[in-house]
């Protein structure tokens, strides 16, 4: 991803909108007893499109904003989304551009990773109440929803940052390049 000022501005706007929409809308939705984690999928998409560094920085920033909006412990969601962005970016850097099936699987797996990181932070900082087995069900449902939404969210994010994507530029160049004249 080529980060120009325009693209950074677009990323900031996208992240702010995704964080606010997550807190005021998606978290309040009831889908099979859980709710979609679209903010996490936006970070995952940016990681897949822009690499580990961009993914980690965007994840950290969006997480901090969510922490502030919810008046929760600062750093909790930041650490969670930072991990998701970094892992998604590393996948892209080591394995390459993921296929559609891989995007869905990765989306689900990273949603599960997010749930695990939050659980680890919560348990690590001390919890004085019983924990129901239903937290596992919630994590599984969340990751299934994540798998289902990963492709549409990736397509939307790709649309927003399309002009900055190296692959897209190469594709566009190939499409517009003059064809060699046949003898």
């Amino acid at each position: 991803m080529i980060l120009t000022q325009g693209i950074i501005a677009r990323l900031v706007a996208l992240c702010a909108f995704a964080a606010i929409a997550q807190v005021v809308c998606f978290s309040k939705m009831d889908v099979f007893g859980s709710s979609p984690d679209v903010a996490l999928l936006v970070v995952f998409s940016i990681g897949v499109l822009g690499g580990s560094l961009t993914g980690a920085v965007v994840g950290f920033s969006m997480g901090l904003l969510i922490d502030c909006l919810l008046l929760e412990t600062l750093g909790g969601f930041a650490l969670t989304l930072l991990s998701v962005g970094y892992v998604a970016g590393r996948y892209r850097e080591t394995v390459g551009r993921p296929t559609r099936g891989a995007v869905a699987l990765l989306g689900g797996a990273l949603t599960l990773l997010g749930a695990l990181v939050i659980a680890a932070i919560q348990i690590g900082t001390g919890i004085d109440a019983n924990v129901s087995i239903l937290v596992l069900r919630d994590a599984v449902i969340k990751s299934l929803i994540g798998a289902a939404l990963a492709i549409p969210v990736l397509l939307l994010v790709r649309l927003v940052v399309r002009s900055a994507l190296v692959d897209e530029r190469r594709g566009a160049r190939r499409a517009t390049a003059p064809r060699p004249v046949e003898p």
């Binding site: 005021v24 809308c25 939705m29 560094l53 909006l69 008046l71 930041a78 939050i118 919890i127 937290v135």
Partner: protein, 289 residues
């Protein structure tokens, strides 16, 4: 060149992880008046009007999704409704939302005007504008804050009963920690037996609460109602006024009562689906109520 990139990537990652952990650590150690809480309040205050507008703007989307979920649950009615659903879906969602809001507000008014609000308490009606995306933090954000007279530890009720208490405020928003949060504990009394205990959550299961530390030999049966006890011993007192409905006993076996002094209850309030709440403010001053 590649090595330099790898080094830079690792350095940034380490820096961000260290920043996250430092923030977590400092946030826990500092008091509510600390600089990190202050910075968080400033950001929350700035984004509060945007959140409020976005909440209203995206409500039809949310209601449509929830409407699908409710329709899925009501499979028995599906065939009868299928013909009309397509054309009326959006209109129905909007009208149902308005009706539900009116119903919720009426029930909320009924509850707070039914004698459970102690003298000197002013109920402040607030809209729920934010919710945590994880089951580990059972908190919601409301659109009223210290500027409206809301203070930390004020009790919060929803249309059907107790919802939680205020744990943090900014000038125009506040964080409500729900009774299903891991940090929550409410002294309660079972009616009509009069047995008292402490209502604690079962993290991850918003439909199940536990009434712990019951007196041995208490006669508790399924279906009995649990209300806030609102005890007062000298200077020490519960922040919740007595008589606010909390839930209904769902599971009370003699064995569990004898061994763990515990029974289970389900909350009256659907804590995942609240649009309005009332904060029972007890402080003078503040802005409009």
């Amino acid at each position: 060149m590649y090595r330099k990139q790898v080094r830079r990537r690792r350095a940034v990652l380490l820096l961000l992880v260290a920043a996250s952990l430092t923030l977590l650590s400092l946030y826990y150690r500092e008091g509510n008046a600390g600089p990190l809480h202050g910075a968080e309040n400033v950001v929350s205050t700035i984004f509060s009007p945007i959140s409020s507008v976005t909440d209203r703007a995206l409500k039809p989307v949310r209601d449509t999704v929830n409407w699908f979920h409710e329709t899925f649950d009501a499979r028995g009615d599906k065939a009868r409704l299928q013909d009309t659903v397509a054309s009326l879906r959006n209109q129905l969602a909007r009208e149902q939302t308005q009706q539900a809001e009116v119903k919720e507000l009426s029930a909320l008014n009924e509850l707070t005007s039914g004698g459970i609000v102690p003298d000197g308490t002013t109920p402040v009606t607030a809209r729920v504008v934010g919710r945590s995306p994880t089951v580990w933090y059972s908190t919601v954000t409301i659109d009223k804050g210290s500027g409206d007279g809301v203070r930390v530890d004020d009790p919060v009720v929803a249309a059907q009963g107790l919802a939680g208490k205020i744990t943090q405020t900014t000038s125009n928003t506040a964080q409500v920690t729900l009774i299903t949060d891991a940090d929550s504990a409410v002294t309660a009394r079972v009616q009509p037996s009069g047995a008292t205990g402490v209502v604690e959550p079962n993290v991850g299961n918003p439909n199940d609460l536990q009434l712990d530390f019951l007196e041995r030999g208490a006669q508790i049966a399924q279906g009995q109602m649990v209300l806030t006890a609102g005890f007062s011993t000298g200077d020490l007192g519960s922040i919740f006024p007595p008589g606010i409905p909390i839930g209904k006993i769902t599971h009370a076996t003699v064995e569990e009562q004898q061994a763990y002094q515990r029974v289970h209850l389900s909350p009256f309030v659907d804590l995942r689906d609240m649009d309005f709440v009332k904060v029972l403010t007890t402080h003078s001053g503040g802005g409009s109520k």
